[in-house]
Each structure stands twice: as C-alpha cells, then as structure tokens.
Amino acid sequence: MTETLSDTRPERVPLPADSSEPFLVVENLTVQFPTYDGLVQAVSDLSYTVKLGETLGIVGESGSGKSVSSMAVLGLHDVKRSRLTGSIRVGGKEIIGASNSTMKRVRGNDVAMIFQDPLTALHPFYTVGAQIIEAYRLHNNVSKSIAKRRAVEMLERVGIPQPDRRVNEYPHQFSGGMRQRAMIAMSLVNDPKLLIADEPTTALDVTVQAQILDLIQDLQREFGSAVIMITHDLGVIAEISDEVLVMYAGRCVEKGTTKQILTWPEMPYTWGLLGSIADVASDVSKPLIPIPGTPPSLLNPPDGCPFNPRCPHTDKVEGRRCFTELPELVQFPRQTHPTRCHIKDPDLIWETEVKEEIM
C-alpha cells in the first residue's frame, strides 16, 4: 500500500505509484452490524479487485451482502452502528478508518454510485440541475454558471433531449428512464474512476434497461473507468461484466470470468441460479429447477457451508464436512476458477448430473 498522500491534498487521488495494483482492492472485508438480536454478519471475508476499464459483476440474492460491501467502498456505513475490518484501497488510499473529510473528497470524486431507485435517490425539492451543480461544485471550485454549463453538458451526454430546458426541471417531471439517466449524469459529473451501479436497471423496463446498460458501457469506454455492477439478474451480468463474483450469505462463493461462470459454473449455488432462470429461447417443456428453501439468516448462519441446507450435493463430500467446516475460497487443481465448496471435482458433477437438467 502506498500511503504517500497527505490528507490535505485538495484534488483527486492519483493512480497508485505501484501502478500494477488495481484501482480498487478489497481485502478480507468484514462488515457486521450489532443489533438487539445479535450480531448480523452482513459481509464476511470478502476480497476482490477491479482494474480501470474493467467491469466486475456482483450477483446474489437479496441479503447476500452485495450492496453492503459496495457501500463500504464509499464509506457509507455509520461507524457507530457497524463494525468494519479488513482493507479497502481506492487508488492506493485506505478507506476503512479514513476520516470523514477524507471520505468527502473520495465520494463522488473518485468513486460514484448509481442507486436502484432514482426517485428516492434524487431530492424532490431541488431541480435536477441544482443537484448536479451541487455535486460538481463540491469537488471543483467554479462559479455556478460554469457548473450549470457542465450540468447541461452531462445531461446531453447521457442522452436527455433538450438538456438546457430539462436542467431546470424537477425529478418528478422526468420519466423513470430519464431519472436514471439524470442520476448517471450526476454520478459522472466529476469523472469518477470507479462507478458502482447498485441494481441500476431493476426498476426499469427492458427497453429502457437496454438503453441504460448501453449508456454505462459507452461511458466506461469513453472515460476508462472501473465499474462494479451489482445485480440479481444474471442476464444483466452476462451482458455487461468481464468478471463475476457470486455472493451468498455475505461471502464470495465463486469468482471467475463471465464465460467461466456462465458456461462452466462450479459451485452448486451458481448451478441453482442458472437453473432458476427462464430463457427467451430455452425448451419450455422443461420445468425450472428452483433452489429449495430460503437464504439463511445472517444472525446465526448455519454451521459449515452456509449453503448446506439448500444444497443437493452435500452427499458427495466425505464425512459430512459441509455441515461442520466452512469451505475456503480456493481453486482445486481440477478447477478453472476459485469456488467456496468442498466438492473436489465439480466439473464432473456439472457434466454428468447438473447440466442436462438445468440447461
């Protein structure tokens, strides 16, 4: 870690001196929330990296910790109500334990976020323009009129028609897709190097979803930024991600390139996810294969592998290890990418048992 920067530096964090380090490095991140009922282990031992120009897809069910982990990257967890350990480095700068003033310079400037619901993420009392101008002037010492010109320019860039008129309108005057575009404009106004998109298209129609995904990809190509795409939709992941991280019960259970995950998944949970989705071209006479049961409580997760109550393959591991021992995220010699599973030869099971059934 190159902690050479002083906190008084006003401008953005430069690339780390050791430029081989990816822009975002998350190491052994653990996020816990103490509650009256006990300790919620929202994220446990999560590590990943994202390079500039790359897109990482994080997929998982609700409550799997995918949003909590990315909010930690922005330092959005209240220190009084959460316990964070591990390390998050954005451009070489440590985020965990950083002061509020440091975080203010990082947020929106180096790292920006697109939220799921643009209606609640935009302030209803202020015009869209005012909100973009505020975001710009926080990090750039410019006059209001220059900032407004920048806001109009950004609205135009994200494909909002008549941006010079739209800049003075309120969020409720925008349609859902327009609002999401406006929020993307706001998050990109400071040219962030890392963009976190938390279910950016879940609330949108398919045609608008396609527009927004295209837009995010175009902008990424143009600005060369790193993107984290958080979603529960494997279709979106398939379209946009270079790498995929599958999360379950606060842990990474499988990590690989998008192709590896989609064509050679090696973890029973990923098999379940693939079996659960209907495809626009698949055989309709085959029933969907759902994952039985529901995700575990993070207050007291099951012993051993957290997926064991729903896993149909626990009998393939000797000595009931699935129920007693938490598997490590490792790559066995016969695997193409790391998984958190005791099964030593997942490709064989995939090939002989699972593939026919779910594909």
């Binding site: 069910e61 609700s62 028609p161 349609s175 859902g176 897709g177 327009m178 129609d205 398919v206 045609t207 608008v208 396609a210 527009q211 995904l213 295209d214 529960h232 939709d233 494997l234 279709g235 979106v236 398939a238 379209e239 390139t257 998008t258 192709k259 590896q260 989609l262 064509t263 050679w264 379940g272 996810l273 693939l274 079996g275 659960s276 989705i277 209907a278 495809d279 626009v280 071209a281 698949s282 055989d283 309709v284 029933p287 969907l288 294969i289 759902p290 994952i291 039985p292 529901t294 995700p295 016969r334 193409t336 990418h337 030869d345 490709d347 064989l348 090939e351 593939k355 026919e356 594909m359």
Partner: protein
C-alpha cells in the same frame, strides 16, 4: 395442446372461458380547483380483444404504463370498464351491478405483485385465507381451519402456521399466502399481475413451478401479466403484446418469440438480456428505441408506436393499423414482416459447443479455452 396452438385465437373449436371484446378503460383527468372539470382522458386500455380458454394461460407483456395491469383490474371488475364487453362463460360481466357480480367474483381471482402490501399485516394467515370463504359462505365455520390448512399445504407452506402473521414470512412465502388466498374459492380464472417480479431469482422459479402445478391440478386458466419476457414465454402458450393501451401482436409462443412481426415486439425481444447469447461471447443485435412511451392522455394519431418506429411512414400517422392475421398470428402494423431476433436452441447446445457461431473468433477466449481445458482434463481423469 400442440395441435391447437397454431390457431390459438378463437378457432380452437372450444368456447372461450373469457371472451374480451373491444375493451376500453379511460380514466378522467380532472382540473385542479373547487370545480373539478374533466380536462382529458388517460386512455389506459383502448380497444383490447382476446380470449382465454379453460385451463390455459394467456400472457400479457408490455412496458410499464402500457395498460396491462388495467386490463387485469377491469377483468376482475376492480375497475369498471368504460365500454366493451367481457363474457365469462357466455355471461356479460361488463354491465353487471356489484351485487350481480358477486357470484362471478368467486370464479375470477387475482394474485398481486407485491407480497408485502397485498397482505394485511394485522391479520393472521388463517384469517387472510379464510376471508374469501367467509364472504362467499362456501365453507362452514367448523371446517374452516381444516380448509385453510389444506390450502397452505397445497401452496407448500407448513399447515401449522395458520396462526402466524405475514411479517413472520419471507417474500416468497408471502406470495404463496397470496396464492392460497386466490385458490380458496376454487376459481376458474386467475389474473396473476406480475406474481414473481418482486421475488429473488431462486424464489421466482419456485413460485412459477407452483403456479404451473396448480394449473395442471385444478385446471385453472391464467391471465399472466408480466414484463419479464422469459418468464411469460415459459408459462404461457399464448402471448399478447401491449403498447400504449392496445394489443399490437397476439399469437402463440413460438410465433411471437421466433418470428415476431410487429416492430415493437421485435424491439422488446431484442432488448431482453440473454444469458445464453452472452455466454457464447456475443450479443444479439439490439434495436434501440428512441425516446419514451408517449403519454396515454394524448396518444399519437394512427399507429401509436409510430413515434418510436423505424419503419414509420405517412400512412402510419393517418391510419390506425387494424389487428389482422398475418403468418398465423394477429398483428397491428402496416408494414408487418417477420424478423428473427432470438436464435432458438438451449443453453445445453452452447455449453456442449454445438453450433457455436463464434468458434475460434476473437470473442471467445477465456470461456471456451477454459471449457476445452476442463474437457481435456476430464478426459485424462477418465483414463
């Protein structure tokens, strides 16, 4: 079933369970102030016709605001239709008073989208499920608990949980409670309004399978309203595509998905994310629609899709295209012609490498390489 699917609309010999003809639902727009004059009409549903047959499913797809939910609510008479007819087993429903409607409410039930807001948090599951049976007096009081437990078992919940409150259940379980409630009166038709879109992927599959099992077991017809094209295709042999209050294309599953004729259907299908396509390293050619859906208060003249359509010409603004039979389905377009957007075939073909279009191309480096590697490793382990 397969013999009938080629002529799904009105010609299958059997009389439809529900016959909807030229259904219209307009909502008045009032001015502000003391005297609230009507200053316009939201044309939510504007002349929709379709048939639903006993024990079969019709899917209704379209973007938000296209009127698909309004159709469902009019059919269940939660909204009164502005005009048009709906015949349920030959009986006209559109003009019935609420008292006359009562016996038909038993036959047509609704499953709501949001399992959180559609269950009263202060009522127990037992009381939620038994209320329709109390209202319609179908089950005597002393047999009520047994019937509720039976229904809970049918939808895959623990029958002992009838005394619990909705907050004690997860989203998928709540949706099952909603389904149990809709089954309580043994309906012939269920209007399922986005029944799975609020659920997680792994739970969606559970609920879709449950609905399919129930359909087989009780021979229930479904009007399945959803925006997820893949789920609709999986569930419904017949599909209607709506745009701005009108049906633009209606036909059987394969006709709609493999040879869509209406430009809007083509655009919708091309926008659907496709895991399979992405897995082979490509992406299907997307038809980008410009702009947003126009306001239903003041829809465009002629064809309503013309403002976003790449085929639009003068005739589209002047004349509204009628819903006509073209290539086995009905389509409302002056320039209807087939365009294949989706490549048929299953994920298994992709994984096993059959018909990989991008073989050896620049697009497929990691995945296929890894797959081949894994395959060769498996070969060596077998030896």
């Amino acid at each position: 079933m397969s013999a009938q699917t080629s002529t799904p609309i009105g010609e299958s010999g059997q009389t439809p369970l529900l016959e909807v003809n030229d259904l219209v639902k307009h909502f008045p727009v009032k001015s502000s102030g003391v005297i609230r004059r009507t200053i316009g009409q939201v044309q939510a549903v504007d002349g929709v016709s379709f048939n639903i047959y006993k024990g079969r499913s019709l899917g209704l797809v379209g973007e938000s605001g296209c009127g698909k939910t309004s159709v469902g609510r009019v059919i269940t008479r939660l909204y009164d239709p502005t005009s048009g007819s709906m015949k349920f087993e030959g009986n006209e429903l559109a003009t019935l008073s609420s008292k006359e409607m009562l016996p038909y409410r038993r036959e047509i039930q609704l499953i709501f989208q949001d399992p959180y807001s559609s269950l009263n948090p202060r009522h127990t599951v037992g009381s939620i499920i038994s209320t329709p049976m109390q209202v319609h007096k179908t089950v005597p009081r002393d047999k009520m608990v047994a019937r509720v437990q039976e229904l809970l078992e049918v939808v895959g919940l623990n029958p002992e949980h009838y005394n619990r409150y909705p907050s004690e259940f997860s989203g998928g379980q709540r949706q099952r409670i909603g389904i149990a409630r809709s089954l309580a009166l043994n309906p012939k038709l269920i209007v399922a309004d986005e029944p799975v879109s609020a659920l997680d992927v792994s739970i969606q599959a559970q609920v879709v399978n449950l609905l399919q099992d129930l359909q087989k077991e009780f021979n229930i017809a479904f009007l399945f309203i959803a925006h997820d094209l893949a789920i609709v295709r999986h569930f419904c042999p017949e599909i209607a595509v709506m745009y701005l209050g009108k049906i633009v294309e209606i036909g059987d599953r394969d006709q709609i998905y493999l040879t869509p004729h209406h430009p809007y259907t083509q655009a919708l299908l091309s926008a659907a994310p496709d895991v399979k396509q992405a897995a082979i390293g490509g992406r299907r050619e997307r038809i980008r629609l410009e702009g947003d859906v126009p306001s239903p208060i003041n829809p465009p003249s002629g064809c309503r899709f013309r403002t976003r359509c790449w085929k639009a010409q003068d005739i589209c603004a002047a004349e509204e295209p009628p819903l006509l039979e073209v290539g086995g389905r009905q389509v409302a377009c002056h320039f209807a012609e087939p365009l294949q957007v989706i490549v048929p075939g299953s994920m298994a073909d992709v994984v096993s490498g059959n018909g990989l279009p991008g073989d050896g191309g620049p697009g497929d480096v990691a995945g296929n390489g890894a797959a081949a590697e894994a395959a060769s490793r498996r070969g060596s382990t077998a030896l």
